[in-house]
């Protein structure tokens, strides 16, 4: 195979880097993580002219090479290490024509690393409406680079960019700004010591391990004499660097960029006047939220019903179509219902990610952060916690990751700790099924039903608990951290369909594959535990039951045998063992098993009950009908009544039942302390509240 050109896409956030990446690679892309950290790694293959191929790496968006977060650090680590397998042959810096001045700061830094660099000026379609004109040849000369003026939206200029990438060998690697000017005395010494090296690169190597990850100490061991004395000295140097770079950029742009203010349309200002308005801003935000929730429930209920029925049908067909035996049983009673429990999530997750990515793409999300910051600070959170809390309604995992752009550590930690209280989509199937079992399906007023109101209450409860615990944590936690908060307010854009679609597919896929593996594994284990027993009460079930109920026959007898078997299987014994613990909450041992198995992942609950019940009876009905028929052996009434139902709902609302979330919290906080605290506190709270509610209502 011919050698691929290694290309790194670099750029400030909101410059259209993702759009350029999507254009270059299409669906030919892969999302993973950098080894050992949770920073998202996106890469793809792009076909270039003359049969050449390029491997494109989309580096995390960053404002500069002076990293202030883990994501930004990744960029530096790759660019500083020539031996890194991701070290680029050519760097493509994406900039936004409307923010060229600021975007060029990063460009000059990359250029000073003496890596061949192409400058992409994106959003060319916006030049007319903002009155911008550019002298490209002049800019190319001044910046010593090649420029591709493109519009990712209109799909213009991409071919030129591809041609430039193929010809990367002819790019100049001359730096833009002389690092000597940042601090002459210091850099002179540095240059004397290492005459052959790029000064700016040396400087980054020295300063970068002041930051987060323990970078190989080897790299900086060459420079004990050049240790930066104090944080304020470092800052002074970096400040000087920034000023020098802007001086250079201003000089270049004075000649190469003309903005005719009169030609600008002022669309953005008009929209901002409404969307960040003291009253209308909030009104619109809540209206949008309401619309989203309404849409998610209403629209996704149709595909969900179809999926539910589809899996019941599939199970039946498989059963009747294949010869019976333990392996077929495993498929029809273990795997298919287990899979059904996960596939049913897809519509809701896809809808939620659809809306979130539209809001983010359009630039509206930053306005929400602006509007909510003050309110959220009351509770020890930040305006930037809104995005994680809203994403938390899809899944806590991306939500915890989305806290990364909260600069203040205390606010970030609190957000991470409370996010799992928001009603994630994994709770939904549990809620939906239990609500439909215990809450009457009657209308209140014209639009709302008791059932949908209950659901809405549960959502408010999730948010309320999250915010309330944030308030408490804010009082308890004694963490000093610098409060600072800077958020860019990007221009408004119509979301690009392609970006939205790719985002929805990627996120849904990640969720389904991630959770799917766990669920599948658990359903197989459960099935095995339910299909075998430790003693002859299990193996002789048919005989025992037939002798005991001599008057029964046919179907009824079969059912009695099946449930007897389940009771004396391994899982039956396990469930019995914990029954004393869950009985005060109104649950029997089967629900107990559901709860235990869902400590790995909540969504397993419904699947588990499905597995258990379909093992317990031969009837092929949907899960709900099976649950409805369950009887509480103590009271003789239905097992799922108002008291036990509400108790179960609240248990799921509060309990920390998601191993993946705990794992991600561990990674993001770099300690087991916080996830363990979450596990104990949330589950304790869940048990306590469920207990009280059941005892009061019963």
């Amino acid at each position: 195979m011919a050698k691929q050109i290694k290309v790194s896409l670099i750029g400030n956030p909101n410059t259209g880097k993702t759009s350029v990446f999507n254009l270059l690679t299409g669906l030919n892309q892969q999302v993973g993580n950098y080894p050992g950290i949770t920073v998202e790694k996106k890469e793809g293959i792009c076909k270039l002219p003359r049969g050449v191929k390029a491997h494109i790496l989309d580096l995390p968006g960053t404002y500069s090479l002076n990293a202030s977060s883990l994501d930004e650090n990744v960029v530096i680590e790759i660019l500083l290490n020539k031996k890194d397998k991701d070290f680029p042959d050519v760097a493509v810096v994406v900039s936004d024509v409307e923010n060229l001045k600021r975007n060029l700061l990063l460009f000059t830094q990359i250029k000073d690393l003496e890596i061949p660099t192409i400058l992409v000026i994106n959003m060319a379609d916006r030049m007319r409406s903002s009155g911008i004109s550019l002298d490209i040849p002049l800019l190319e000369k001044e910046l010593n680079t090649k420029i591709a003026l493109i519009s990712a939206r209109k799909n213009q200029g991409i071919d030129e960019l591809k041609k430039l990438i193929v010809a990367y060998g002819s790019l100049s690697t001359k730096p833009c700004v002389n690092a000597l000017t940042f601090a002459p005395e210091y850099f002179n010494r540095l240059q004397k010591a290492f005459p052959k090296q790029s000064l700016y690169k040396l400087w980054l190597v020295i300063t970068q391990d002041v930051n987060f990850r323990k970078v190989d100490k080897k790299k900086s061991s060459i420079t004990p004499d050049f240790e930066i004395k104090s944080e304020s000295e470092l800052k002074r140097f970096q400040q000087k660097e920034t000023i020098k770079r802007y001086q250079f950029i201003n000089g270049v742009l004075k000649k190469g960029l003309i903005i005719d203010e009169k030609a600008a349309t002022g669309m953005r200002a008009r929209l901002d006047r409404v969307l960040t308005h003291k009253f209308w801003g909030y009104f619109i935000f809540f209206a949008i939220l309401l619309f989203i929730f309404q849409a998610i429930y209403d629209w996704s209920s149709y595909p969900m019903d179809l999926i539910d029925e589809g899996f019941a049908w599939l199970s039946e067909v498989t059963k009747s179509g294949l010869p019976s035996g333990p392996f077929v049983d495993l498929i029809t009673e273990g795997i298919i219902p287990g899979l059904g429990g996960i596939v049913i999530f897809i519509p809701q997750i896809a809808f939620l990610f659809l809306f979130i990515s539209i809001l983010e793409e359009s630039g509206y999300m930053s306005r929400v952060v602006f509007l909510m910051d003050r309110v959220m600070r009351r509770f020890g959170l930040s305006g930037k916690s809104v995005v994680p809390l809203v994403s938390g309604t899809a899944c806590a995992i991306p939500a915890v990751m989305a806290t990364r752009n909260i600069e203040n550590w205390k606010e970030r930690l609190i957000t991470i700790l409370v996010v799992p209280f928001t009603t994630c989509s994994a709770r939904l199937p549990v809620y939906l099924i239990i609500i439909s079992l215990v809450i009457p399906n009657e209308k209140v007023g014209w639009i709302f039903s008791y059932q949908s109101l209950t659901l809405m209450l549960l959502y408010f409860l999730g948010f309320g608990t999250a915010v309330g615990s944030a308030w408490i944590l804010n009082k308890i936690l004694k963490i000093k951290s610098k409060t600072y908060f800077v958020i860019e307010m990007p221009g408004y854009k119509l979301p690009l369909l392609k970006n939205v679609v790719i985002n929805v597919i990627e996120k849904t896929k990640a969720f389904v594959l991630g959770a799917g593996k766990i669920i599948l594994a658990i359903s197989i284990v459960l099935w095995v535990l339910a299909s075998f027993g430790p003693n002859d009460k299990f193996s002789n079930a048919a005989q025992i039951v037939t002798e005991k109920y001599t008057n029964l026959s046919g179907e009824e007898l079969d059912q009695k045998i099946a449930s007897h078997k389940l009771e004396y299987s391994f899982i039956g014994y396990a469930g019995k063992a914990i029954e004393p613990i869950v009985a005060p909450l109104g649950y029997d041992w089967k629900i107990g098993i559901g709860i235990i198995s869902s400590f790995a992942a909540r969504e397993v609950f419904v699947g588990t009950l499905a597995t258990i019940y379909s093992v317990g009876s031969d009837e092929e009905e949907t899960i709900k009908n099976r649950m409805k028929a369950e009887v509480n052996t103590v009271t003789g009434g239905p097992l799922f009544n108002l008291a036990s139902g509400i108790s179960l709902l609240l248990f799921y609302a509060f309990a920390m039942q998601c191993m993946s979330t705990l794992a991600i919290v561990k990674r993001e906080t770099n300690s087991w302390k916080w996830p363990m605290a979450q596990l104990i506190f949330m589950s304790g709270l869940a048990y306590g509240i469920a207990l009280i509610v059941y005892q009061v209502l019963k």
Partner: protein
């Protein structure tokens, strides 16, 4: 009395004077908040915080405490 960004009224423009305070994060400087550059207050959220500004052509929002650390000269 020192005049800072926190004193600006909606629509008012000013030039940034010296930046001395240690607490101004580098990120803000990198976004163009440097001496000599122009700022304009576009909008404030209720209770005057955060403040939505244009600095050197970049649109961004910062909290009031930080705005109060950046000395300006109204133009």
């Amino acid at each position: 009395m020192k005049i800072t960004i926190a004193n600006l009224k909606k629509g008012q423009r000013a030039l940034i004077k010296e930046i001395t305070s240690e607490i101004i994060p580098l990120k803000l400087l990198e976004m163009g908040c440097l001496p000599g550059n122009e700022v304009e207050l576009i909008q404030t959220a209720p209770f005057q915080c955060p403040m939505y500004l244009t600095i050197n052509g970049s649109h961004l929002a910062i909290r009031r405490e930080m705005a109060a650390q950046i000395e300006v000269e109204i133009i």
